[in-house]
């Protein structure tokens, strides 16, 4: 196959597969936060702060996949 075609396919696969894990992870985080909020609506401040922090960690993995995909398309 053409190297160009393989590069584009690799970029697409990289971003697509790399987004599955963080997507599920962020969903689980949201579930935990909603449960905690339902049990204790007064603790909204710390719950939301910690949820945003944890979501940033999970999203960073998806960003790594995005960076690899962008490098494949534009630089490689």
């Amino acid at each position: 196959m053409d190297p160009e075609v393989v590069k584009l396919m690799a970029a697409g696969l990289c971003m697509g597969l790399g987004a599955i894990g963080p997507g599920i992870g962020i969903g689980i985080l949201g579930l935990g936060a909603m449960n905690a909020l339902g049990r204790n609506p007064e603790a909204r401040g710390p719950i939301m702060t910690n949820m945003i922090l944890a979501i940033a960690f999970a999203e960073a993995i998806a960003i790594y996949a995005l960076v690899v995909a962008v490098v494949l398309i534009f630089v490689a």
Partner: protein, 320 residues
């Protein structure tokens, strides 16, 4: 004409705004890239067409200063510095007891940041970590929001080699700036850890050989079973300490790519939206970019704060 209803505007004003919006939508649909693929080349004037988004990943050099190449992202970083220093100077060179509007805005922002630091790190540590964390937050958010203004990505100058380059580019999209901030964050976290716990105690978190040597001593004294189990625990402790040291270093890379990736992805998204349907499609993405800039600044500062809190607290409390 009653001013209630329709968000406080009278009905004809709302209809007028919606009409203008509809006309803009139709014009940009026809002249943008979507229209080009749907209707073919209609021969519209060139000022209606948007060039294809070309992302230049290493930032382009605009001129040289004292031997250093000055890229367009450095110019933007200088602009953010000027904006931040300007606002702070304008407020502090005439502080009043009854604050003016700008002074109360700045006081509200800094007060919120100090509150955030003290919530996460405790009273004393929060006040100690506040300057660096607040600087990182304000710098990142100013860079991110400033890059949404018109002029970023549309003003062309010719550089010293004669090519046409952009004059201004979002400072967070050059990978050197997130890397620099991540290095500063790393250095300060280690510094605060060493200052709080004393140099040797802090480094002992990473080189954890106390259990290992204690069990070797037990073996020599003849207590074989306690010695051997302690030996295994000692080896695991050494390994865990090594992993913690490694994760401190990986944090630099993770900080860099989180900020760089978010900002570059946002810029690409905006360029693509402007390319497809020029005036209209970019509006929701501008809102997203505002939110992402705020969240990323909060994440960078907040994670620095959290890691500093962990580093400055005694490790034995965690192991228990």
């Amino acid at each position: 004409m009653p001013k209630r209803g329709c968000l406080g505007f009278s009905f004809p004003v709302v209809v007028g705004v919606l009409l203008v919006f509809l006309v803009l939508f139709l014009v940009s649909l026809i002249s943008g890239a979507l229209g080009n693929s749907l209707f073919g080349d209609l021969g519209l004037p060139s000022w209606l067409s948007v060039p294809q988004p070309a992302l230049k990943l290493p930032a382009e050099v605009v001129f040289h200063l004292l031997g250093f190449p000055i890229t367009n992202s450095i110019i933007t970083a200088w602009l953010s510095i000027i904006v931040l220093v300007g606002i702070c100077y304008a407020v502090t060179h005439r502080l009043k007891l009854i604050p003016t509007r700008l002074q109360s805005m700045l006081e509200a922002a800094l007060g919120w940041l100090l509150n955030f630091c003290q919530e996460v790190a405790g009273e004393k540590n929060g006040r100690r970590f506040f300057p660096v964390v607040a600087t990182i937050f304000l710098f990142v958010i100013t860079n991110a929001w400033l890059s949404l203004l018109p002029g970023f990505g549309s003003i062309f100058v010719t550089n010293t080699e004669g090519e046409a380059v952009h004059l201004l580019k979002g400072a967070n999209t050059d990978i050197n700036l997130p890397l620099a901030l991540a290095l500063i964050s790393f250095i300060f976290v280690e510094y605060w850890g060493i200052r709080s716990l004393g140099g040797l105690r802090y480094l002992r978190k990473f080189v954890n050989v106390s259990q290992f040597f204690r069990s070797v001593g037990q073996l020599f004294r003849g207590r074989l079973r306690a010695g051997i189990s302690g030996l295994f625990m000692g080896i695991i402790d050494i390994f865990v300490g090594f992993l913690e040291a490694l994760s401190e270093l990986v944090r630099i890379i993770s900080f860099t790519f989180r900020l760089f990736g978010n900002m570059t992805a946002g810029e690409m998204l905006l360029l693509l939206a402007i390319f497809l349907i020029p005036w209209v499609l970019a509006l929701p993405f501008y809102g997203l970019e505002l939110l992402v800039g705020l969240v990323q600044a909060l994440i960078f500062g907040g994670l620095t704060l959290v890691f500093a809190t962990i580093a400055a607290s005694a490790h034995e409390a965690e192991a228990a």
